[in-house]
Amino acid sequence: MRDNSLIQVSEEKVMPELIEKGVWVEVHRIELAAGARAPQVPRDTQDVPLEMRVKGFLLEPAAIGDEAEIETFAGRRVRGTLVEVNPPYTHSFGPPIPELSTIGKELRALLRERGGNP
């Protein structure tokens, strides 16, 4: 994991770290600005832009926050702001939910009372 996107070059100046060509990255862009949304969408959605995030291989070296171009898995070229390098999959399960944890035990007891199998 990268710990930051900046490297110190002098005490006064910081230079953004360039990500090499060919690295798997994600770009972000605004597809429809707030106010240019479809007429039928509700107010809370009208008030925010339609955002797009696409991953691909970086075509030219660029730094986080730069406008960059990528080539996607499908071979399309997409431009956007470079926002992430090798973006992780972070979806998970999280902790057990106590409200679900006892259901199996309750039902096995119920079936036992009735002389069932489990």
Partner: protein, 473 residues
Amino acid sequence: MSGPSYQELMARKAGIVKASTGLDYSKYATGALAFDYEKLLADTGYDIDTVREVQAQTAVGNTPLVELKNITELVRALAEPGKGAQIFLKDEAANPSGSFKDRRASLSAHEASKRGYAGVAVATSGNYGAAVASQAAKAGLRCVVVQEAFDSEGVAQPEIAEKTRACEGYGAEVIRLSVGPELFYVFLKVLEETGYFNASLYSPYSILGIETLGHELVMQVRESARRIPDVVIVTHAGGGNLTGTARGMRKAGAADTQVVAASVDLSGLHMASDRDFNRKSFTTGHTGFSMPFTTWPDRADVPRSAARPLRYMDRFVTVSQGEVFYATEVLAELEGLQRGPAGNTSLAAAFSIARGLDEDRIVVVQETEYTGAGKHPLAQLNLARELGIAVARGDPRGNRPGERIVIPQHPWQIEAVEVDLDRVRRSYLGHAMESLPEGARLSETDLEFLVAETRASRSTVEEVMNEFAGERR
């Protein structure tokens, strides 16, 4: 910002759809509203045997039918003496990408290859994306999946995050969007730019691909119980699952089996709301899709949806979020099957429906889907809690989407709630009237079409249409 405006692109929609589906929908029109539905399907040239052959090439279909012995036992323990139907489950998670959606994707990928398209594109946040990506991988086609994936705070819906991973795992490009129906605008831009085949969920290929599911389940019940099923319960969203399954069942000789649509009740939440997006706890199988698509199927990404659920449903029920999470837990702990959760909507309904039927009746829960990180009750309930939604055990009638998820205390509290089909039919006819071009009159063919669409009587259709016409004047 680049590219055409929303309005500019929408004006080119018809041409883009025609090029990307290879179908000229206009030639099926037979009236101001009517079109020849059966001809639209038949012209594809796929009968059920051909579909089966295509699907066999990628190991799609022929999924196991599992007798849920312990759940049947449980239901009988709750029922009046002599009541409690035998419950079977069609384990569609056994398909290559983990859901029945492989059946829908298989014909599209086959058709795209046959016609020489370089790739397939699809607008979906669900299992269907993984199915198209999987089929495209096998067929050597490129694939783009457009998803509604995160809200304006950047929070991804965990189940959709898992679908992103799955699609990318099959080598597909995934375009992730924030909330809103303009996903269709982005999708049209992709189709126009790439010239790919539109593997629409609502194309004839998608529906014909599901017919094998309905056909198989009838044949499997026949084999194991020497009779046809009495009730088949289908998790219902856009209508394709119900339409294709019911059509396949009829082809297997089960025209009298009751077809029940079951959806998770998400009333009170707005489907295009940025705020509500992560408060739904379900990404499919819910009323946010099933109500609009049942009352007007032609709101899809093709001009005429091949999914026309009102033609095939005998009953429509809803269950609560908490009841589906409960059913998911029961399936895992009593039957040893971790599946769902969204696909278990019909299982939750089965608890209640089977309880009221005689013991010698057979109920089939028509699908399952794979489960995993993000796509799991724990992921959904943890996110709900983070967003301030209460999660508690109690009477499921107290469940309030977006505010409170109530996990039943006891299985006998699970109660499928009937949707009034006459109101649904009326709503359909209202939409039909709205879509009637200014000045156009309904022909005899149109009226016959509306009768077939709604399964209402001719006199009811005429009465309601006259009433709406009066309001319009």
